[in-house]
């Protein structure tokens, strides 16, 4: 009976020691689903949430790349259109003769080509101002007429639960006014028609307005992404803390438990050697 009790007692002490050892070496207190069924199930949920956060970050990064690219392109485009306007206002003045106006028109054309190249910006195989027709350049030039080949599709990207941001602006809404205005200006400049030049110049505010509006829209997207990122970081931290609470072993506690069980095991062995040794036979001569 002593030996059976010893075996049983030592067995369960050994199990405790092994469990404490596992926790210390793995750093985890959850080593099987049975250790905490609800904790294990919650860990599945938390891991899925973390994966979701990672994906939102990924979207903010690679999806957001096209947004910041478009935003900076629009900033250049704004400057280019402003430069065209400056040339245009100079040409509209009576100080310029036909020769100098032709010179100005040349400059304007070159700036227009620059604008065209900006509007046809391509990165990683995607024309960013083409709507959904990303594989072909959205603007084509014929004479001084620029035509939009893309569509009006706007993509959203998901950057947090239930939160999407606008990823692109359709080129036609951004550049069409600018290109048609520049075309008008060129005709007026080359014909020396001052009234027509003035009329063309008066359209520039609208053309610039379109670009600014698009920049603002993309700016909102970028700001939203940034805010979502900050929130994401906070959420990730909270989830990781919760994960830690569920699965991480309290090392100090585990080591204490290990020591306590080892001591008890030794004591059990000592006690059993004393208790198991003596029978009356030992005292009979």
């Amino acid at each position: 009976m002593i030996y059976r009790n010893l075996l049983h007692g030592a067995g369960s002490l050994r199990e405790n020691i092994e469990a404490a050892n596992r926790q210390i070496s793995s750093g985890k207190k959850l080593n099987s689903l049975a250790d905490s069924p609800s904790g294990s199930a919650e860990l599945v949920d938390l891991r899925a949430e973390l994966a979701g956060i990672d994906q939102y970050r990924e979207n903010a990064g690679s999806g957001g790349f096209f947004i910041s690219l478009a935003e900076s392109v629009l900033s250049s485009a704004y400057n280019t259109v402003t430069a065209i306007y400056t040339r245009g206002s100079a040409g509209a003045s009576s100080l310029y003769n036909a020769d100098t106006r032709a010179e100005l028109a040349k400059e304007v054309r070159s700036l227009r080509d620059e604008l065209l190249s900006l509007a046809n910006t391509e990165a990683q195989g995607r024309h960013v101002f083409a709507g959904s027709q990303v594989t072909t350049a959205p603007f084509t030039l014929s004479g001084d007429t620029v035509t939009y080949q893309g569509d009006l599709v706007q993509n959203g990207i998901d950057v947090a639960d239930g939160l999407q941001v606008q990823q692109n602006v359709a080129g036609s809404t951004v550049f069409s006014k600018a290109f048609s205005t520049v075309e008008q200006l060129l005709t007026a400049l080359e014909s020396g028609n001052q009234a027509a030049s003035q009329a063309a110049l008066s359209q520039f505010s609208e053309a610039l307005g379109d670009i600014s509006k698009a920049r603002a829209e993309l700016g909102v997207s970028l700001a939203t992404i940034q805010n979502a990122g900050t929130e994401q970081d906070a959420r990730e931290l909270a989830i990781q803390e919760r994960q830690g609470k569920i699965q991480d072993a309290d090392l100090a506690e585990a080591i204490t438990r290990l020591k306590a069980n080892e001591t008890t095991l030794e004591a059990t062995f000592t006690a059993s050697t004393v208790a198991g040794q003596r029978t009356l036979f030992d005292y009979l001569a």
Partner: protein
């Protein structure tokens, strides 16, 4: 004392009696550590007085016999507690294997594959025309399908190995019941002859009954002949007197797994405990539930993804076809077989319908909706997302394992108490045996002394006569 010679006879019987007692003590001591040995006690029966009159001298010891200490009630309770012990051990062994399949603490597994799959659609939404992102979707989809098959087949192989263990356990049960029937007949014989061998045979039979109890839930009772009758929980007789009725593990139509048959009757559903009960419980109730959950998940995934995929346009502007190979139920209305057979139908990355219908290759409308399926409640009649359904499965498997482990611990403690109690009745106490040796030795010496005295007296009488 009717005569001096009769006295000598009494002395001789006394010597024999003490010697028998010493032998019994010696048997007890040598078997002090023999499992199932029941300590034996010597009964001395005094003889009737011999002669008449005021002084009627004693007749000495007329017989000695031994008795074994057994408490049948405790023996029976031990067997009843061994049954759930065997059951829990079988359940724990199987669920430990399930744990290895479902535990994703290393960050790999079905949940990770699900997350990865839906994330790949979300990544695709950042640049739907991108070939490498499209390829990544197909890679993740194949990984997910593979993961479903891996977990499903893993669970199924636990089921299959449990089925093989059922056959092994049945043959173990049969050899044990045969041994019990054999012991029954020998016990009845020894009992009839009044032979001491009966005690050792009973010890052996108790060991067999304990072994059997760990294998299957049985009840037993002892008949007048000393034989035990054994019956399963459903009343099927396994042993009666010296006959044992064999269990058979056979295949039967309508089920892929072995059925337990006794005397032509299928008693599978009657078996509730013991190792056999645990094996059957894992095979017929726990694992089928897990497998059905995986099938439900796979069928819902295939259905939802295919439906959404057909609402979009691929890189060439064509309406999307089946993303996964459509699942055709083997049994109408059942998802059975979905998880094992899930596969990706698309091989050309350009065929992924990421765009909205009528929109260009850069549209991500459908990719986002496909990614959104991961957050939609599409399983369990619209009550859970795939991930939630899976975490339910993890919870169920975990709590079944933890219940079995807790029960096993409690059972172990109860058994320990009972076995200690059995030992305190049937076990050999060396102190007591030491005292007995002294007692019987002294009695032997005294009897010898008595004979010496009688011998002297007889000499005396003979001297007078001579």
């Amino acid at each position: 004392m009717s005569s001096l010679f009769a006295g000598l006879h009494i002395g001789e019987r006394a010597l024999q009696a003490q010697q028998f007692a010493l032998e019994t003590t010696q048997r007890n001591i040598t078997n002090a550590n023999t499992p199932y040995y029941s300590r034996q006690r010597v009964n001395f029966i005094p003889g009737d007085p011999i002669g008449f009159g005021a002084v009627a001298p004693g007749g000495g010891v007329i017989s000695v016999s031994a008795d074994a200490f057994r408490n049948r009630f405790i023996d029976y309770r031990v067997t009843q507690e061994l049954q759930p012990q065997g059951e829990n051990d079988a359940v724990i062994a199987a669920l430990d294997q399930v744990d290895a399949l479902l535990n994703e603490s290393d960050g790999k597994g079905l949940q990770a594959a699900l997350s990865e799959f839906f994330a790949s659609f979300s990544s695709l939404s950042n640049a739907p025309e991108d070939q490498s992102l499209r390829r990544q979707v197909l890679v993740s989809a194949r990984d997910l399908a593979h993961e479903f098959v891996r977990v499903y087949e893993g669970l199924q192989s636990i089921q299959t190995s449990n089925d093989r263990a059922v056959a092994d356990t049945v043959s173990e049960i049969n050899s044990t019941t045969s041994a019990i029937a054999e012991l029954n007949s020998r016990i009845a014989q020894a009992h009839g002859l009044g032979s001491n061998e009966e005690f050792a045979l009973r010890d052996q039979r108790q060991a067999m009954l304990d072994k059997l109890a760990g294998l299957v839930d049985v009840s037993y009772w002892e008949t007048e002949s000393g034989a035990v009758t054994l019956a399963t929980a459903g009343g099927a007789i396994l042993v009666a007197e010296d006959n044992s009725y064999q269990m058979a593990a056979v295949t039967q139509p309508g089920t892929p797994y072995l059925q337990i048959v006794v005397g032509g009757e299928n008693i599978t559903s009657d078996i509730g405990s013991g190792k056999l009960g645990g094996l059957i419980k894992v095979r017929d109730s726990m694992l089928p539930d897990y497998l059905a959950r995986l099938d439900d998940m796979a069928a819902s995934l295939i259905e939802s993804v295919n439906t959404q995929h057909a609402l979009g346009a691929d890189l060439a502007g064509q309406q999307g076809g089946s993303f996964f190979t459509p699942f055709t139920p083997l049994i109408p209305g059942s998802d059975s077989g979905a998880a094992r057979s899930i596969s990706v139908a698309i091989t050309d990355p350009a065929k992924i319908a990421a765009a909205g219908l009528t929109e260009g290759p850069g549209s991500n409308a459908n990719a986002r909706l496909l990614a959104g399926i991961g957050d939609s409640k599409i399983v369990g009649s619209g009550t859970a997302t795939l991930e939630q359904y899976y975490s339910d499965l993890v919870f169920i498997a975990g709590s079944q394992a933890s219940t079995a482990k807790a029960a096993s611990e409690t059972q172990g403690n109860i058994l320990l108490q009972l076995q200690n109690q059995r030992d305190s009745i049937s076990g050999v106490n060396l102190d007591e045996e030491a005292v007995n040796i002294i007692k019987y030795q002294k009695a032997y010496q005294a009897s010898a002394r008595y004979i010496t005295v009688l011998n002297d007296l007889t000499e005396e009488v003979l001297g007078i006569l001579g």
